[in-house]
């Protein structure tokens, strides 16, 4: 069983890894549960669910302040820099997660989940944040919602699914933000 599961996990991880490149919400075969997997172009509503505008606005406000101070600067130089930095970091983290799944390194996954959770929260990308938090717990072999401990294989599987969903949410957020800055330009 363990072997089989392991294989499943690895296959899953591969699938996820494959999907990664696109970074978009590609529906990996394994992406289980969560909503529409691949809708990168989710409707605005879902986007709003993905982004916590209150938090993100705080960063945007910093831009405005900059504008006030530096008229010649790019309008959203600061927030855009942060958002873009987040994209890079998130995608790199996703890749690490993929690798960690392959390596079945739950601790690593938990750490990565924690890491991405933090930056996602900073930008108000709440869905990714939530997924990462789950991943953090799963990495600790815990299901905090159910209050139960998980078997490593189960945790890994959940993480795989979680990662797929998380990427999708991430893509939605990314697209939304890209549109946002596109418009503002």
């Amino acid at each position: 069983m363990s072997d089989i599961k392991h294989q499943d996990a690895s296959s899953l991880s591969k699938a996820t890894s494959d999907t990664k490149p696109t970074a978009s919400s590609s529906t990996s075969p394994e992406s289980k549960p969560i909503d529409k997997k691949e809708e990168e172009d989710e409707d605005p509503e879902s986007q709003e669910d993905v982004i916590d505008m209150e938090t993100f606005q705080q960063i945007m406000d910093m831009d405005e302040e900059d504008d006030a101070d530096e008229e010649d600067g790019e309008k959203h130089a600061f927030s855009k820099g942060i958002v873009w930095g987040y994209f890079e970091q998130a995608e790199a983290t996703f890749q690490e997660m993929e690798d960690a799944i392959v390596a079945k390194d739950l601790n690593k996954l938990s750490s990565l989940g924690h890491f991405l959770k933090g930056s996602s929260a900073a930008l108000g990308i709440i869905k990714v944040q939530a997924s990462c938090e789950k991943m953090q717990h799963y990495g600790n072999k815990r299901d905090e919602e159910a209050g139960i401990s998980l078997e490593p294989t189960e945790a890994l599987k959940r993480i795989q699914d979680l990662l797929t969903a998380c990427k999708k949410d991430y893509q939605v957020a990314k697209k939304w933000m890209e549109n946002l800055y596109e418009e503002d330009k």
Binding site: T55, I59, D61, A68, I82, G118, A122
Partner: protein, 1115 residues
């Protein structure tokens, strides 16, 4: 052609000149002349002025002729030898227009050509170019009526044309335009038409044109309609101006840039490149309206058609470019213009006398209507502009009024507090500081207003002279500077804000350097810098500084007054306090001067706090803005006081002259009292100054910095300024208050929002905090760095715990923000524990999203001082910074102060512990706050007593009473009401104040509580050490406490208006005035509620007093 022959169309000439001229020459028929005469009426359409002289009406035609004339003149003896140049000069427009057609022609006699082109039709009249001159001569000679021979005509025409149609375009050197643009075209066109055409133009030419015009005019169309002429002229002018117009064929690409409108390719059409620019800039000049659609409609009426504009370079069709075409409307083809007629009339492209006849009728009226409409539109625009200005003025005036009201109220509150202090125990002293704070705020607010108006100078002058004279020379100079600077300061406020902040940062930098600016050194430096800066401020920033000084002085006086009045006991304390206050005052002054130079720094810190507060800050700002105005007023008052009564009057006058005059008036009374006190204090200060200088300088520097910051902030927004004030108060008692005053003043004056932010951030710290961010998350690194930079901090980032430990080993940081999880090797806890092995001082704040209690516990156990939960907000970060750097700042201040006066050990660790303890037990915090307040009160009392010593106490008291009464009256309060308020203050006095203070601190949170706790401790410590230093410290502490409270209040009040009130209350509390003070302030605000901020506060105040008290109690 037909036109020319028709000759009659000389309407242009006819109008200016008797048709007879034309008739003879061209042989044009007299009838036409008659028509022409009839034509004159149409001119109105073109431009009233133009009409008198036909040329205006027929600018186009005329222009050509004039050019011709000019050219002719140049060439030949003809009409006016001088004319050529004169012509050019006079006919710049014409020339420009003509230039497009064939400027060069004029020089080479070609000019006509351009015009001639149209003339082509008139070859019949061919006259040798040379002949043309003759013609002119002939004309002149022949037609004496046309007094100014051809040239004269030309001149007239040109002028008229210019005035009428081309006014907007200043005379372009015909030569240049012609040379540049026209030459080529001219050449091309010239050859064909020169000989033939010229003749026509010269004599017949004009005649022909005129004929055409006449035809049009006769018909009512005015030859080329006014619209067409204007349009043509506009295009020629544009082309001349931008060099694109050039001759009809020239590609505009030459110059690369083009105007908003110009001839299209080949001059066969004209293009509106930039509709917006054209509509806003060109249309109004030419058509006196800015309605593009109207313009297009007109074009349609004249048979223009819109064609797709093909970009010359790309060959693509551009959608946003409007290109209009009319067969008869071509560059250089002026004669064809006559053919362009309104459709309604039946547009005739060919100049047909008949057609003209018909059309004219319709034209005349429409033209007039349009011109009138244009005029009306212009008037509307101008009136709208005036209205906006008037509204702005009204707003300013209202803001000023509100500020004044607030100041008055504050004054009252201060007085009440002073009374409490006198009557009451040392606790009242605590009120004292609040009073100062309030005064400062008031000053600040007032100052802005003052700044707006010139009064500051007057203030500065009188104040400086009086108060300053009393004070040491440096102070005096400073004060002087301040007075003058007021205006400047305001101005500077904006500019200085940034730089000043930096400067302030430098001065405070001592803090940043922490050790660097030891009290002694700082004192020395501050004093030195302060005085110098003051001096500097005197010249430039004087405006800003003076207010501060004034404010400070007033405050001190007020306090002093109360004390004397109330009790002798206080007096004994007073001396020390006084010394402190005076010192503060002096420092303030010094600082204020410094503001100009150093002031920025001071302001910086203030702003920082504000900025950190974020929403609360906003609330605070609003309140403060309200308060600021009062402060400004106070400052004014204070200035007045400084000046002495006389000075006061002068200042008051100046102030009054400003929007807030009335408030000032009321305030003046109070102010006068206060002023007197101030003066006394000043004197005291003078006496003390030396001592105070020692200690004070630092505070002053800070304060000044604060003020500058405030200015900057104020510039940004009034609310900001207010917040800055609060900050100032927080920063240093005296210094802060002063700073606030300055800041408020500057802020008020400046009003610019942007500066606020910077100023706030900068103002918040005496020294630029150096922060180490240990964070592996890029997003948080960027975000925290950004926030920290906004807070005026210098930030270094490290990605891992090892790096953090190494950095901590190498450098000294004021604070460390440390993430917890860094990966496998080391986490934040371990790193902290390592750091704590060699650095037990630097605050380490854990940034983590794992803020579970057990986690927090582990963090604390690892040696971390606090926790900043992720995701953190700007506000949250600021609070943390403020909480922990306040200690640093205080510690720094202590260091500075201690060295100077007495050595007080920095208690950063203790502060942290205290903060924690306070957070744990609000009661304790309250208790500490109470203690602090008490201490402060005691200090205040001392200060007051010192004031008494100065001589001013007795007077001050009396004045205070008067002032109190007056303020009430000014605010509309009856004496009874005022007394009640005062009683309430007294009653609630100490305890309420303490409670409120404690509450505020507690309410805000651990940070606040900590700060308050620390402050008290500091105060306590300081007091023992040196009365003076202690006083100052207390003042500072109080201020800080007040600021903290204010912050807390602000935060609490953030929710809404109510919140704003609390803020005010908090400020008042911080001031040390205590509840009473707050109440008084609120009351004052109520009256002033008319202003926005004032209103809010006022409304709050209504419920406010009780609410505040309740809050305090609850807290």
């Amino acid at each position: 052609m037909s036109r020319i022959p028709s000759g009659p169309p000389y309407p242009h000439q006819l109008a200016p000149q008797p048709p007879s001229f034309y008739v003879p020459h061209p042989g044009s028929q007299p009838i036409p002349s008659g028509l022409q005469q009839g034509l004159p009426p149409p001119p109105p359409l073109g431009g009233g002025s133009g009409y008198p002289s036909d040329p205006n009406v027929y600018p186009f035609e005329r222009h050509p002729p004039p050019l011709n004339n000019g050219g002719w003149n140049a060439h030949g003896p003809g009409p006016g030898p001088g004319p050529p140049q004169g012509m050019q000069m006079e006919y710049p427009n014409v020339t420009s227009s003509s230039s497009a057609a064939g400027p060069s022609n004029s020089r080479a006699n070609d000019p006509y050509q351009a015009y001639t082109q149209p003339m082509r039709s008139s070859p019949n009249q061919p006259v040798p170019p040379r002949q043309q001159p003759i013609h002119h001569a002939n004309w002149s000679s022949v037609h004496p009526t046309a007094n100014p021979p051809p040239t004269g005509r030309g001149g007239v025409k040109l002028e008229d044309l210019v005035s009428a149609s081309d006014r907007r375009i200043p005379p372009l050197p015909p030569s240049t335009h012609i040379q540049t643009a026209a030459p080529v075209s001219n050449i091309s066109s010239v050859p064909s038409s020169d000989n033939i055409k010229r003749p026509a133009t010269g004599g017949g030419g004009e005649g022909s044109k005129h004929d055409a015009n006449a035809a049009g005019g006769g018909g009512g169309q005015q030859g080329p309609s006014e619209f067409i002429k204007k349009l043509y002229k506009m295009l020629e002018d544009e082309s001349a101006a931008f060099g694109k117009g050039k001759a009809p064929g020239q590609p505009r690409g030459q110059n690369g840039r083009r105007g908003s409108v110009g001839w299209g390719k080949g001059g066969l059409s004209f293009v509106v490149w930039d509709m917006n620019d054209f509509t806003t800039k060109v249309l109004p000049q030419t058509f006196r309206h800015s309605n593009f659609s109207s313009f297009v409609r007109q074009l349609n009426k004249y048979g223009f058609s819109k064609i797709k504009h093909v970009d010359e370079e790309s060959g693509t069709i551009k959608e946003n470019v409007w290109e209009f075409q009319h067969p008869s409307f071509q560059a250089g083809g002026k004669s064809d213009l006559e053919n362009i007629k309104r459709k309604t009339v039946a547009p005739r492209k060919t100049a047909g006398g008949d057609g003209d006849d018909t059309s004219p009728k319709a034209f005349g009226p429409t033209g007039e209507d349009s011109s009138r409409i244009n005029v009306m539109e212009n008037r509307v625009v101008s009136l709208e502009g005036k209205l906006e200005r008037a509204l702005d003025e009204v707003r300013d005036a209202r803001a000023r009024e509100a500020g004044i009201m607030g100041v008055l109220k504050e004054v009252i509150g201060h007085i009440a507090a002073s009374e409490r202090a006198t009557s009451g125990s040392p606790m009242s002293d605590g009120n004292y500081s609040p009073r100062i704070l309030h005064l400062f705020k008031a000053f600040d607010s007032i100052i802005p207003v003052n700044n707006r108006s010139a009064p500051p100078t007057s203030y500065g002058g009188p104040l400086s002279s009086v108060s300053y004279s009393a004070q040491p020379a440096s102070q005096t100079s400073a004060s002087y500077g301040m007075a003058p600077s007021f205006n400047p300061a305001y101005i500077n406020g904006g500019t200085n804000q940034t730089s000043p902040r930096t400067d302030g940062g430098a001065s405070r930098g001592s803090r940043g350097s922490i050790s660097g600016p030891p009290p002694g050194s700082a004192g020395g430096l501050r004093n030195v810098s302060g005085t110098p800066s003051r001096l500097g401020s005197i010249s430039g920033p004087s405006a800003g500084p003076p207010p501060q000084v004034a404010v400070q002085q007033p405050v001190a006086p007020v306090q002093a007054e109360p004390l004397p009045k109330k009790e002798v006991i206080e007096v004994p304390e007073m001396p020390t306090l006084y010394s402190g206050e005076p010192l503060n005052m002096t420092p303030m002054f010094v600082e204020t001067p410094a503001w100009l130079t150093e002031g920025n720094q001071a302001t910086m810190p203030m702003y920082h706090r504000k900025s950190s507060d974020g929403t609360t800050l906003r609330m605070m700002y609003d309140v403060l803005s309200g308060g600021n105005n009062p402060n400004e007023r106070f400052t004014q008052d204070g200035q007045i006081q400084v000046n002495g009564n006389e000075n006061i009057n002068g200042q008051v006058n100046g102030l009054e002259s400003i929007p807030e005059q009335e408030p000032l008036g009321t305030a003046n009374d109070n102010n006068n009292n206060g002023n007197n006190n101030v003066n006394d204090q000043n004197q005291n200060q003078n006496g003390q100054p030396q001592l105070t200088d020692m200690v004070i300088p630092p505070p002053g520097g800070f304060e000044s910095a604060d003020l500058s910051d405030i200015k900057g902030k104020s510039a940004v927004s009034v609310s900001a300024s207010s917040s800055t004030h609060a900050m100032d108060t927080v920063n240093g008692l005296n210094g802060n208050s002063i700073v606030n005053g300055n800041g408020n003043g500057s802020g008020g004056s400046v009003i610019t929002a942007p500066s606020r932010k910077r100023s706030m951030i900068k103002s918040h710290w005496s020294t630029t905090p150096k922060i180490l961010v240990v964070e592996d998350d890029l997003v948080y690194r960027q975000l925290s760095s950004k926030f920290l930079s906004k807070f005026g901090c210098v930030t270094e980032t490290v990605e891992n715990a090892q790096g953090a430990v190494e950095k901590m080993n190498k450098d000294k940081y004021d604070l460390v923000l440390m993430d917890i999880f860094f990966g496998p090797n080391m986490d934040g806890r371990k790193a902290t524990s390592l750091i704590r092995q060699f650095d037990n001082y630097t605050p380490i704040i854990s940034m983590t999203s794992n803020a579970q209690p057990q986690d927090v516990d582990s963090y604390i156990r690892s040696g971390m001082n606090d926790i900043l939960a992720k995701p953190f907000t700007k506000h949250g970060l600021f609070l943390i910074l403020d909480k922990h750097l306040m200690h640093l700042r205080q510690a720094q201040i202590y260091e500075k102060i201690i060295p100077i006066s007495v050595g007080v050990p920095p208690l950063s660790d203790q502060h942290v512990q205290e903060a924690l303890a306070i957070s744990a037990a609000t009661l304790q915090g309250q208790g500490t706050a109470g203690l602090l307040m008490g201490n402060l009160n005691g200090l205040n009392g001392i200060g007051e007593s010192s004031g008494d010593v100065n001589d001013g106490t007795g007077e001050v008291e009396g004045e205070n009473e008067v002032a109190l009464r007056n303020p009430l009256a000014g605010s509309g309060w009856s004496d009874e009401t005022y007394q009640l308020v005062l009683q309430q203050f007294l009653q609630t006095g100490v305890m309420p104040d303490v409670n409120t203070l404690a509450n505020g601190s507690i309410g805000t949170g651990i940070i606040f509580g900590d700060s308050s706790g620390f402050n008290p401790n500091l105060n306590r410590n300081k007091r023992p050490i040196d009365a003076i230093s202690g006083e100052e410290w207390d003042g500072q502490d109080r201020l800080s406490g007040a600021g903290m409270e204010g912050m807390n209040d602000a935060q609490q009040s953030q929710a809404g208006l109510l919140g704003s009130v609390p803020i005010l209350g908090g400020v008042g509390m911080g001031m040390g005035v205590g509840m009473g003070m707050v109440n008084g302030i609120t009351i004052g605000f109520l009256p002033s509620s008319s202003s926005s901020t004032a209103n809010v506060s006022g409304s709050n105040a209504d419920d406010g007093r009780e609410a505040k008290r309740q809050r305090g109690l609850v807290g």
